[in-house]
């Protein structure tokens, strides 16, 4: 019965050892998928390399199917699984800023760490920028508190720890099926696009 640590099946003491081990697996797979290269990552936005899309979509679908299967089999209690909370404006504005950062910097926080780990100076510089950005946000927090907490003029933004299927009142199984179909279609069409776009060597 999972999740193992919140239910104390694995003692809390092991939490950080497990964090390092899972992190290692995460880093190893991301690096071997080619995510240490900013030019490969950005290929997604210019149509010459769709590896990011494939890995990202596959990971989301596999995890979603796995979690619902585990839950169905009674192997995991979903009420102990952390659902990322929804603050409407913050989710949109934060995402828009990050997208701009993505195409400017060529990395996201995870992949810049991976680039930095194998000696990419652009990865190290990006990570430094990341910390500067977090520092700027923290110092400007009094101004940004409303959007972050969903208060003041952003009152009503906080929708809770809600899933997309609860919000639209649809069956999660149907949604995951639809999402899988979209993913497969996306693989097919992006492959067609990649064949038409002039290849970039990096």
């Amino acid at each position: 019965m999972g999740p193992l640590i919140p239910l104390h099946i694995i003692p809390e003491t092991w939490n950080h050892v497990i964090a390092v081990l899972l992190g290692m697996a995460f880093g190893f797979i991301m690096e071997s998928s080619g995510f240490s290269s900013s030019r490969k990552i950005v290929g997604l936005f210019y149509g010459y390399d769709f590896t990011v899309l494939r890995v990202f979509f596959t990971a989301t679908v596999v995890t979603a199917i796995g979690l619902y299967y585990f839950s169905y089999m009674g192997w995991i209690d979903m009420s102990f699984v952390y659902i990322h909370p929804t603050y409407l404006t913050a989710a949109i504005v934060g995402g828009l800023i990050m997208g701009l950062g993505f195409v400017s910097g060529g990395y996201c926080p995870g992949t810049s760490l991976i680039g930095a780990a194998i000696g990419r100076i652009d990865g190290i510089v990006f990570t430094t920028g990341l910390m500067i950005g977090i520092f700027l946000f923290s110092e400007a927090f009094p101004v940004l508190e409303g959007i972050y907490e969903g208060t003041g003029m952003f009152d009503g933004d906080f929708l809770g720890y809600i899933t997309i299927t609860e919000y639209f009142n649809i069956s999660p199984h149907l949604f995951i099926f639809g999402f899988t179909v979209v993913a497969v279609a996306a693989f097919y069409f992006t492959n067609l696009i990649r064949k038409r776009v002039k290849p970039v060597n990096y």
């Binding site: 995460f26 929804t86 997208g99 195409v103 995870g110 992949t111 990341l130 977090i134």
Partner: protein
């Protein structure tokens, strides 16, 4: 494969993976060290400071150490370990690094507003079908596609 690791993470810990969290802990710890009074008074830093635990003592920091080690291992096996700046030969190294820094800063601000980055909010969020996770995922990729035209000289 990544999906199986993420699934294992949820099964074992009940939470997803993340990357910007470790950077946040580093910033909080640094500010707490340099200006403890300021950190304590700030509404944001003080959320992450407690009397019994060092701000670096978080799950995501240990995970990030693992990420560095795992990526290093993979790079070593594949023979990709090399200190260099990867950039389009049509632009200078300096230009690449300036835009990498700007990109990092933007990601830093954005990830705090949205409570997570591509890993923590978009990937781990969407995997549990979180509404906010899906919105952030679409906003990140939509915005990157939207701005891609203006940055095309940097990459192609």
């Amino acid at each position: 494969m990544l999906g199986l690791i993420l699934l294992a993470t949820f099964y074992i810990t009940g939470r997803g993976l993340g990357a910007s969290g470790a950077a946040k802990s580093t910033v909080v710890a640094a500010v707490d060290r340099v200006a403890p009074k300021h950190a304590e008074e700030s509404t944001y830093y003080s959320k992450f400071i407690s009397d019994d635990l060092h701000p670096m003592n978080t799950w995501l920091v240990f995970e990030a150490i693992g990420v560095l080690a795992g990526a290093f291992l993979s790079g070593a096996i594949a023979g990709r370990l090399k200190i260099k700046t990867e950039h389009n030969p049509k632009i200078t190294r300096r230009r690449r690094l300036v835009f990498a820094l700007i990109g990092g800063i933007l990601f830093g601000v954005g990830s705090q507003i949205a409570r997570g980055c591509t890993s923590g909010a978009a990937l781990s969020g969407a995997a549990v079908l979180s509404l906010g996770g899906f919105i952030t995922m679409m906003a990140i990729f939509g915005s990157a596609y939207g701005f891609a035209y203006f940055f095309r000289k940097l990459w192609t």
